[in-house]
Assembly symmetry: C2
Homo-oligomer: 241 residues x 2
Amino acid sequence: MSSASDRAYAAIRAMILSGELASGSQLREEHLADRCGVSRTPVREALHRLEADLLVRRNQTQRSFVAEWSPDDIEQAFELRGMLESHAAKRAAERMTPHLLDRLRGYNAALRAAITGPYPDVPAFLTQNARFHRGIIEAAESARLTTILARIVEQPIVWRTAQNFDHDDLARSYREHEDLLAACASHDGVWAASVMATHIRRAFHTYSGADRAAGSVDPATADAIQRLNLYPNMANFDDVS
Amino acid sequence: MSSASDRAYAAIRAMILSGELASGSQLREEHLADRCGVSRTPVREALHRLEADLLVRRNQTQRSFVAEWSPDDIEQAFELRGMLESHAAKRAAERMTPHLLDRLRGYNAALRAAITGPYPDVPAFLTQNARFHRGIIEAAESARLTTILARIVEQPIVWRTAQNFDHDDLARSYREHEDLLAACASHDGVWAASVMATHIRRAFHTYSGADRAAGSVDPATADAIQRLNLYPNMANFDDVS
DNA sequence: CTCCGCCAAGCTGTATACATACTATTCCAA
DNA sequence: TTGGAATAGTATGTATACAGCTTGGCGGAG
């Protein structure tokens, strides 16, 4: 399942994420091909996917550059994510099954374990958080919604948010997930949508309020992010492991 | 600007739209390459774009098929379009400039002309309708929103809707656009969002209520649709002509 | 000194050949 | 007759060569 094209996609994405490829810098197909150990063909495919993700931009003459993110872009990403994931939460609550509810509770229990104690395990938090949110999106049973959220809204900028979370923020995320589970258990779509909107909006303000270093990402976190983004469209995330 | 890859995209898209390629049928790269008069490379790129548009699906073994649309898929498409275009309308109203307002009024005047008289000119209606909606989306000034709406929500199923419109439906569309212009002129985002939500929801019910022939599309309409979809991400639609 | 145009180097677009993986059919054996 | 395995045919994945266009620098003319 790990074709050259997938590897190129993951590698280039990781290079952008980690700051190895600076924002705004040009991406040359042949150069990337050498670095990824594949030919230009899979690199071209990867660049097109990354362009659809809005991680890469092309100028008039088809040359590729690492996309630059303005504060306004970031706010828009959070706004759309809030809108779409609220909708997903509503649908998920209305369709929730006992089996899926158990799975989601498991993820959130693991998330709690990751942040319990003096030193929170941020990569583990990210992993469980991603599983939880993807579980909700899956439960919404809408292919379009899944595609949009996976490809366009699940951005590095979103993943990086957790880097700026302190212990209280992490704990609050856990409690908001618990609220969401309660809403799902009672099949209350309006409640679920409302909790999700709050959850994501709070994350946005935590992100913008934080005094973040614009540079690179902690290696362990970068690694977790890369693993999480390898197969964003995978139907059942559990089967990968 | 018309590269082989663009031509392949437009041609395959048109073949799917017109029903020439039946829903669910397999798409072979080499076969399509012959029909489009290009090699496999641009066809591959086109198929990937169409896959991102959800017009093409791939099975486990990477073989491509024309996507099949269930009634539920269609409702979801309308639901998402309603949500996202309402949001766009809100932002557009808040940011509206006199110049753009004039342009939009021009489109809607042309739309009125197209439906005045005993025999409405459906292709002209579609063209002006598309310009109007794209103008709104442009005015929202959100790259993410534009990308999502252009690539995922602007579906053939949406375009075909107008085929089921009778004269009253067409006239109602015109009047709803006028309401939207009034909302934009007064910079009332809430009003604009509300009008847009109504507009799209009504279109959905007209579509589902209609006793439509599942088959092919009137040639002139198919032609208009194809032209409209050639460069869905073009920044300024007017420059194309 | 500046500006325009030309030329060279480099990058992307396309075609094509080859490698790999799936499918379906056929044939043999139980 | 049915089930399974082998094989031929067909599809997609990747590498690579070449063509066309863009860019940037250099040189000559004003």
